[in-house]
Symmetry: C2
Subunit: 373 residues, 2 copies
């Protein structure tokens, strides 16, 4: 049977160019797709124990049917896997499997696995090719595309890593059916982000199609393809995030600080932190007189309808002090030569990079947002 | 006082181009050189406890005199520092010092520190600039130039790392005066290597100037500059080692296997392994009828005069079995798709890459070399 590729988004990065294939049950066709595109390679699959149970058998059956040689490295699920210790396990696993420079690493899983496996591939034998097979909505629309790989540090998220583009992204829509509603919603926050950055029309389209996207209709694949096209365009323009790519961090500076404060735990998923962060970024922009405050309300309503948290008080348990949050914001890697850099906005679809944000104003705004809890 | 730069070798790698400055007491001038070339940066110095004692005070005094801000990360000396654990210490140290993307990491030390600090810089904040300040002969003529960085794996040497070019190399000749004769000789093996690869005239020049190089006369700086020019030329032609750069591995496949077998210990320094490896590569080429056997003798005599080991029996203690050595050779990263790749030679200055070396012939040759011990 032929693969049902509903969308093919090309990332035109010269000699690092690759395709993002989006479609139903692509994992069942992975073997034939890989055999055709990368003849004669061997494969090392990195995944986590949850995804190994839900998706790995399909991928292995497909590789076996195509006669492809493979080995597996299974790590624990969860954000805490993005550590030095698990990076070492992944890299040593690649070496123990005797994969060579011409062979391929497969990242099968969500954002954590994609970031970790991509980073492991980038440093094993000083750089091996790898393929992203994202199984979460967040990974399909964001982390699997664009080549940012890495792990977390006690000093902050994603502070250690490499720019390493995949050779192919295979997004199987059927994997999303196994996500919990909470995980799906968390990924949806990143979908909304693309509309908020510079595509007002996409945000309005999401307002109309939200139910269909959550139910799994054709709008789901369409939304994912639109996000990938958006991200591909940005990555082509600014691969190493020296400029415009920073817009993709909308909501992330606040979000990362909240994630750090909650210990990268189940209390707050990454996408949930981004949801609150985007509302905060809009609210702070409104406070500065840059954006209409009704936009903040409209965004907040849309995210809430998706089941996402939108205010600090939605986070279970006590948060650290404003000083602690500000310290986390200052250590976030989107700091340039001491000045606070934030993604601010003039309204829905009008985000911009502001490199001289007054820390005291952010701190006062956060204080107020805590008080309003 | 102005810096006494005796040689400036430019590595023309486009936007990754950099200079190698070679001269006496350059560490004492580092502050003014850096202030002029990289205004407004902060510095994180990574070094080891031995070099910290011998060289760090000079560098710090020079940075202080130029008003440059700096912090220091001091690791234990020795090959075992090229591990995941010390990589983590180095990276977290960079982050703890709050160095930003625009700041600079300085690798002050020999090959171990250069490889480790360069790798740490390449992954901290997904890539920071760094400067090599090599303090050993081996680092000055080889490891500090060309952007290969990394750590060792239980599966083999340098199997984990990145290609990350320095922004500047500062080779202070006076640091070589503090090396032990054994360490200096080990570095000298890499000097000889450049002649053996494709520069017969340089090898003959070394035979004439060996005493002056060991005594510290002007021929020492001249030899280092010639090695750097050679390496720069190769790196410009083949930065990622897809082809001709592999010639620089002459003697290294045997050498790495011996280093692994002796536990990367004081029993065999890297350059000592390379010395024996180069003699073995010439001997094996002669055995295959490719090279004149008198070349092997001439090379061996030159290395011996430098105080280097040249045969397996020169290694103190018992070696592993030939099978163990062959397994290490097969796992060495210079393996392409299963076939054994070796740097062989047709004589002094005539090395070439052979991708289809018969493992059984290598094994038989090693057996014989052990027997002749």
């Amino acid at each position: 049977m032929a693969a049902e590729i509903a969308h093919n988004v090309h990332v035109a990065l010269g000699e690092r160019a690759y395709d993002i294939l989006i479609g139903d049950r692509l994992l069942d066709h992975a073997g034939s797709i890989l055999a055709e595109r990368f003849p004669g390679r061997r494969y090392g699959i990195i995944t986590d124990n949850m995804v190994a149970e839900a998706q790995l058998p399909r991928l292995l059956a497909s590789l076996d049917a195509a006669g492809l040689s493979h080995s597996e490295i299974i790590l624990p699920a969860g954000e805490s896997t993005k550590s030095f210790a698990h990076l070492e396990t992944a890299v040593e696993g690649i070496l123990a499997a005797r994969l060579e420079r011409g062979d391929l690493v497969i990242a099968l899983g969500g954002g954590v696995i994609g970031d970790l496996a991509g980073f492991a591939a980038s440093i094993a034998r000083r750089g091996m090719d790898f393929i992203q097979m994202p199984t979460s909505l967040l990974a399909q629309v964001d982390s699997s595309v664009g080549g940012k790989t890495g792990i977390n540090s006690p000093h902050g998220k994603n502070l250690i890593g490499a720019f390493h583009q995949p050779r192919l992204v295979l997004a199987d829509l059927s994997t999303l059916d196994t996500l919990s509603p909470r995980q799906f919603a968390a990924g949806y926050a990143e979908v909304v982000k693309y509309g908020l950055i510079d595509d007002e029309e996409f945000f309005f389209w999401l307002e109309e199609h939200q139910a269909e996207i959550f139910a799994g209709g054709p709008a789901r694949g369409e939304a994912i393809a639109r996000c990938c096209r958006h991200k591909a365009r940005v990555v082509i323009e600014d691969e190493k995030e020296l400029g415009v790519r920073a817009l993709l961090n909308l909501g992330h500076t606040f979000g990362h600080a909240l994630e750090k404060d909650t210990g990268y735990s189940d209390r707050l998923l990454h996408g949930e932190g981004v949801a609150i962060g985007m509302v905060l970024a809009h609210g702070f922009s409104a406070r500065l007189g840059l954006a209409p405050s009704q936009d903040t309300g409209r965004i907040s309503a849309h995210l809430k309808k998706a089941g996402l948290p939108t205010i600090l008080a939605d986070i279970p348990g006590a948060l650290g002090s404003t000083e602690t949050l500000m310290a986390a914001i200052a250590q976030d890697k989107k700091v340039a030569r001491g000045a606070l850099t934030f993604i601010l906005t003039r309204g829905i679809g009008q985000a911009f990079i502001e490199k001289n944000v007054d820390g005291a104003a952010v701190s006062a705004f956060l204080d107020e947002m805590r008080g309003s809890a």
